[in-house]
Amino acid sequence: MHKVWAVIRREFIERVRTKWFWVATLVGPLFFAAIMVIPVLMARSGGVRQIAVVDDTPNEFGTRVAEELSTGRSFRARRVEAGLGVLDSLTAAVEAKALDGFLILPSDVVETGRAEYRGSNVSSMQAVEDLQRGLNRLIVKARLEREGVNPAVVDRAQIRILLDTKKISRGRTTAESAGGSFIMAYIMAVLLFMAILLYGVNVMSSVLEEKTNRIMEVLVSSLKPFEMMLGKVLGAGSVSLLQFLIWALSARLLMSQRGALLRAMGAGGENAGGGFQMPPIPGSTIAVFLAFFLGGFLLYSAMFAAVGAMSRNEQEARQAQQPVTFVLMIAYLSIFALTNDPNSAFSRTLSMVPFTSPIAMPVRWTAGSLPLGEVLISVAILIAGIAGVTWVAARIYRVGILMTGKRPTLKELVRWVRA
């Protein structure tokens, strides 16, 4: 055990000392901060849009439109009387970037509901939507008023309807929204996939390093191959946990400082226009995530260790790892099927098979309500799978690490395992 501990420590310390580790560790929070802040900044990009409302209506409807638009945060609008050459001069102003765009209200806009916007940037969905919504409100209001409806009644009738979705999860109604739980499931799947793949490949290249640098022989004379593999896998695994911990803490910190951060970026006050809102993550979800990450990591890194052991160099290893990566991809690529119908036969199967369950089960758990029993069965199958795969991998590892000839064929691999 002392020997395994030495391998774990070496693996851990050498890995944490690499530049790669710190780059990845720092990129995580930066990425997180970016997805938090960038949507907000994008919504505010260029700050307020300066637009003109070209009014051709008989009753200066354009004035009301300009006022209405200006009350929002997106636009500063001023009314321009329609006339000869107005469009040309406004176009020139847009060209010269003195103006972001202009809204053309034809004389019959209230009747037809047709208007036109010309601007330097018409691809901002948010801006176009704001424009359309504001205009819509006013036109509906104008039409109703024309029919003699009390303006106050019209205002009350136009209070927007918000459909608030809440998930029923394990007998309780949670505050999670549908979109939120999909995003959570998606982020989880990406994290699991990336982490299992990256750290698995790390184990592989670490085995390969010992092979190509011919350290293997001294190691094998002091350590059992299984001890070497175990130490490697656990060492790399603890590095990944450390990295997750740093990421989780920095994410928490960023979330709690979100307002201050956004203000610092000049993006306005609390809850400023959308952005990524992290739904609250229940402890049970974190537990499921960690349990299946660890299981998946152990399962896959044992396979990657065997791949490293049976390859002579990086190129060979890259080829030999493809089947392993492919199996891992199956679950990853099934995210949409899993979130759409977490309880279909397909989803259930994926979350039970040990090679796909490390990704599929946490996704299902987040996307829908799952009985705890099902999760426990999946964990049990996963543990059995790890034991089986590790046994096979250790036998391949044992023979492979001392092999110097060409890469073994499938038939030879089977013989190694049986030997």
Binding site: E14, E210, R214, I215, V218, S221, S222, L223
Partner: protein, 319 residues
């Protein structure tokens, strides 16, 4: 006599297609410098790997320190320098040494102290925090060598230790090995270069094609397999040397009669006494400058036993 440190008993190891070691038996007594000699491909490395638990023998048994547990179980007492050497290039020198010692079961604290002491002794103290890849090849060899003996093992196993070593490190290695032997440690090393073996070994075993040809103490092997040789040099008169040398009861073969007939090397006939030749020469009136009993070189024995072809192959290091 105490039990041998290493005892190999009728061990056979086959690989796909060929038998690398074939019914080999040998035993290494404690406190000896034991040479495992043979041409390339003789099975030296395979034998050593079986001692170290890297390979399992197909049949036969191996005992280390009089137990039936293999090299891995005894890793704390064994220092092993494999033929193929390597270190972690990105690790720091001190860390590599401590890790390799820990892998053998040595406590971290002790490993550190020992590593620093050895680095100091071999002039690498200033390099202890540098990466292995920053070191020259010669320095890396020293680090590798320190990792072999850092834990003061009772048995040192060296597979072709001199191959690839520069002369300075060769000497460091030799000194350390001799010093370890003086302190009662047992050393087993393999080589195909007989000059190394002749200078160092107490005991040896010559193998070829996986089979043992001869083993035992160096003088005994020389005596048994080389026969006795006499070098004779005359100072003027040769007396009846030509007649005496032709006497097949005394002289089996005259190897060399050069220098204008002033010098000769004789191989004595089996059972013949060198003193008889000396007396006969003096009685015949020969004046002698030199009359010396010599043993043949190990290289000659090796060539005789293995055959010239194999020996030629062996003369090319690491071919």
């Amino acid at each position: 006599m105490s039990a041998p440190v290493v005892r190999v008993d009728n061990v056979t190891k086959r690989f796909a297609g060929h038998t690398a070691v074939d019914g080999l038996s040998l035993s290494v007594p404690p406190g000896t410098l034991y040479g495992l000699l043979g041409p390339n491909g003789a099975g030296k490395t395979t034998t050593i790997r079986m001692l170290m638990d890297i390979y399992e023998p197909d049949s036969g048994s191996i005992r280390l320190f009089d137990t039936d547990r293999g090299g891995r179980a005894h890793s704390q007492r064994i220092g092993y320098l494999p033929e193929e050497r390597g270190l972690y290039p990105r690790m720091r020198v001190l860390d590599v040494l401590v890790f390799l010692a820990e892998a053998k079961g040595v406590a971290r604290r002790i490993a550190r102290v020992q590593a620093l002491e050895w680095l100091d002794r071999l002039g690498l103290a200033d390099w202890r925090l540098r990466r292995v890849s920053d070191l020259s090849k010669g320095m890396q060899q020293k680090v590798q060598f320190i990792s072999t003996i850092l834990h003061d093992p009772d048995l040192i196993v060296l597979d072709e230790p001199f191959s690839g070593l520069d002369p300075v490190n060769s000497q460091v290695l030799r000194d350390t090995v001799v010093d370890a032997r003086r302190r009662g440690k047992t050393i087993l090393f393999s080589t195909h270069i007989m000059e190394h073996a002749e200078k160092l070994c107490d005991q040896l075993c010559i193998i070829a094609r996986g089979k043992k040809l001869v083993d035992g103490a160096l003088p005994a092997v020389k005596q048994m397999h080389g026969g006795k040789h006499v070098v004779v040099a005359f100072d003027g008169s040769q007396g009846a040397a030509a007649r005496i040398f032709a006497d097949r009861r005394l002289v089996a073969r005259v190897e060399d009669f050069g220098g204008g007939g002033q010098e000769a090397e004789l191989e004595l006939a089996p059972g013949a006494d060198a003193q008889e030749i000396l007396r006969a020469l003096i009685e015949s009136g020969a004046r002698l400058l030199r009359f010396e009993l010599v043993t043949p070189s190990l290289h000659k024995i090796f060539v005789d036993l293995v055959g010239p072809d194999a020996a030629k192959a062996a003369a090319v290091p690491n071919a």
